[in-house]
Symmetry: C2
Subunit: 337 residues, 2 copies
Amino acid sequence: SSVPTPIRATLFPGDGIGPEIAESVKQVFKAADVPIEWEEHYVGDQIDPRTQSFLTWESLESVRQNRVGLKGPMATPIGKGHRSLNLTLRKELNLYANVRPCYSLPGYKTRYDDVNLITIRENTEGEYSGLEHQVVRGVVESLKIITRQASLRVAEYAFYYAKTHGRERVSAIHKANIMQKTDGLFLKCCREVADKYPEIKYEEVVIDNCCMMLVKNPALFDVLVMPNLYGDIISDLCAGLIGGLGLTPSLNIGEGGIALAEAVHGSAPDIAGKNLANPTALLLSAVTMLHHLDLHDKADQIHNAILDTIAEGKYRTADLGGHSSTTDFTKAICDHL
Amino acid sequence: SSVPTPIRATLFPGDGIGPEIAESVKQVFKAADVPIEWEEHYVGDQIDPRTQSFLTWESLESVRQNRVGLKGPMATPIGKGHRSLNLTLRKELNLYANVRPCYSLPGYKTRYDDVNLITIRENTEGEYSGLEHQVVRGVVESLKIITRQASLRVAEYAFYYAKTHGRERVSAIHKANIMQKTDGLFLKCCREVADKYPEIKYEEVVIDNCCMMLVKNPALFDVLVMPNLYGDIISDLCAGLIGGLGLTPSLNIGEGGIALAEAVHGSAPDIAGKNLANPTALLLSAVTMLHHLDLHDKADQIHNAILDTIAEGKYRTADLGGHSSTTDFTKAICDHL
Ligand SMILES: CC(C)[C@H](C(=O)O)[C@@H](O)C(=O)O
Ligand SMILES: CC(C)[C@H](C(=O)O)[C@@H](O)C(=O)O
C-alpha cells in the first residue's frame, strides 16, 4: 500500500502551558498515525513591523500556505505599540467565523446534562473595531461596526454548518431592540440567508433573554450565530455549562478555506512547565481540525479516546478533580486509541 | 396613637398582566397596613410631545414629586416617531443605577442553591446611546459612550450599596482588554471609588469570564457593577440562575433620590386578563421600594410572607409549576402576613 502524502499544518504552541499541551497533541496524533506534518511557529520576542505584533509575518504566511493550523494559548505581552496576538491572527488571516461546539463530556458531571450547542461568532468587526476616542475630557466613545458583508458571510457559514452537521435550528442572537441599525442589519442578513435554507428552522433571540434561557434550559438552543461581542460572551457562558474553557474546542474559519483550530483558554502561567496542564481543549480543537480536513476516521478515533479517558476517570488532571500529570493523561488517551 | 401620614408613591400598572399584578401589590400592601397612598398613572394612547413617548409628562412629574414609584411591565407599541417607554423613564428621570438583587427562593428548586448576588447596572449611557448611522450602504456604526460622570455615579452607588448592605466585595465587569478607552474609563472610575472604601474588596472581571464563572459557581460573586449592556446581559443571566425574571426584583435609582421599583419581565399578553400571572417580581420590587423608604419592618413582613407562600408550595402560579390563580396566590400571601 502507498504511504499517504502528509498534510502540512501550522502549529503555534503558544505561551505558558501551550508547549506542554501542544506536545500532548503531537503524541496523540503520532499514536493515531495521523498523516499530519507539523510546521511549528513560535511567538517572537520582537514586534514584526509587517504585522505590528509579536507574531511574525512568516508564521502567518505558514497558515496562509498550509490553509490549516492549530494554536495554543497566546498571552499578549503588556506594553504599547503592538496589537494583541489573537486579534492579529483574526485580522491578518481574515478569520471571520469562530465555531465553538459545546457538549457535555460523558462522565464529567456539571449541573447540566446533555448540553449540545454550537456557537458561531462573527470574528472580525462589531465592538472589536478598535476605534475609540475621547470626545472631551471624561467622555469617550467606541465605535461598533456592522457590515453587510461580514454579517452575510458568518450567517452563510452558520447555515452551511447547520445543514452539513444535521442541525435543526439556527438562532440569531442580537440586541436590535436597542441597536436597531447595527444589530438590525445583522438580523436582516441572517434572514436573507435563512430564506435559502427552508429546511433549517430560524429564530431571533435577544441576547439578555438568550443568556437567561441558556442558564435555565440549554436544550432550547441548537446552533447560535451572533456578532462578535455577543459571541465572546455567549461562547464562554456555554463553556461554563459543561465545565469551562479547558474542555471546549474552537475552530476559526477564514477566507480562502483557512481553518485555525485553537484552545481558547488562557496560558495559565502559574502551572506552566509543571506537567499539570489539561490538554483537552487543544486536543478537541485538533479533532475539529481533522474533521475540517475530512480525516473523519482519525478524528473520531481520537475524539473517542479523549472522551473515554475522561469518562473512565482514572486519569484526570487537577482542574477536573484528578491527580494526573499532562503526560500521564496523554498516555492514557494514546492507550485508548 | 396618631395616624401616620401616608407616603405618596406613583404606580404604573403597565400593560398586559401589569394591572393584575399591580392589584396584587395593592392587596398585599393593604393587608400589611403599609402607609402608602398610590397615585396611579397609565400609559397613554397618544404620543406626548413633551416626552416623545406614550408616557405623559404628568406621569413623569408624579414620580419626580413623589420621588418614589412602582412600575409594572410596559410594552412599547410598535411604530415610529416615539421612544421606548422603559428608555424614556430612564432618561427623563435620570435613573442612573439599576439594582437587581438575585437570590434563591427557599423551596423553589433550580440547578443552583444559595445564589445571593446583586447586579448594579449603569442605566443611562453606553451602548444605549441611540446614536447609530449608516456610513455607506452596508456599513453601519453604533456609538457606545462612557462618561466619567455616569461611571463615577454608578460606582459610588455600588460601593455605598455594598457598605450599607453588609456586602464584602464589588466586582467591576468590563471588556477593557478590547475597549481600552471606554471600558478603561469605567474601570478607572471604579478604582477611584474603591480607594475610598478600603473595607470593601474590589476586583475587575472580564465579562466573558464573568459569565462563565457565574454559570460554574455564582458564589464567587457578591455585588457586580457594570456598564449598561453588560448589566442588561448579566442581570438576566443571574435571574436565570434562580428561576427567571418572574422572581427577581429591580430598583432604579435616579438623581435627587428618586427610586423607581420595577418588574423587569415582559407584559405576557398571552395570559393577560386571565388571572394567571405571577406577581412575585412586582411584589419583591415593591419590597425593595419599602426598604428604600426605610419601612424595613413592613418590607420584611411582606418579604417573608411571599417567600413562605412560595416555599410552602400549596399556592403557586403556573410558571412555577402550580395551578393557582393570581388572586389565590395573593390571598395566600396576605394570609401569611
Ligand atoms: C483574549 C480576548 C481578546 C479574546 C476575545 O475577546 O475575543 C478571548 O476572550 C476569546 O474569546 O478569544
Ligand atoms: C426592554 C429592553 C429595552 C430593556 C433593556 O434592554 O434595558 C430590558 O431588557 C431591561 O433589562 O429592562
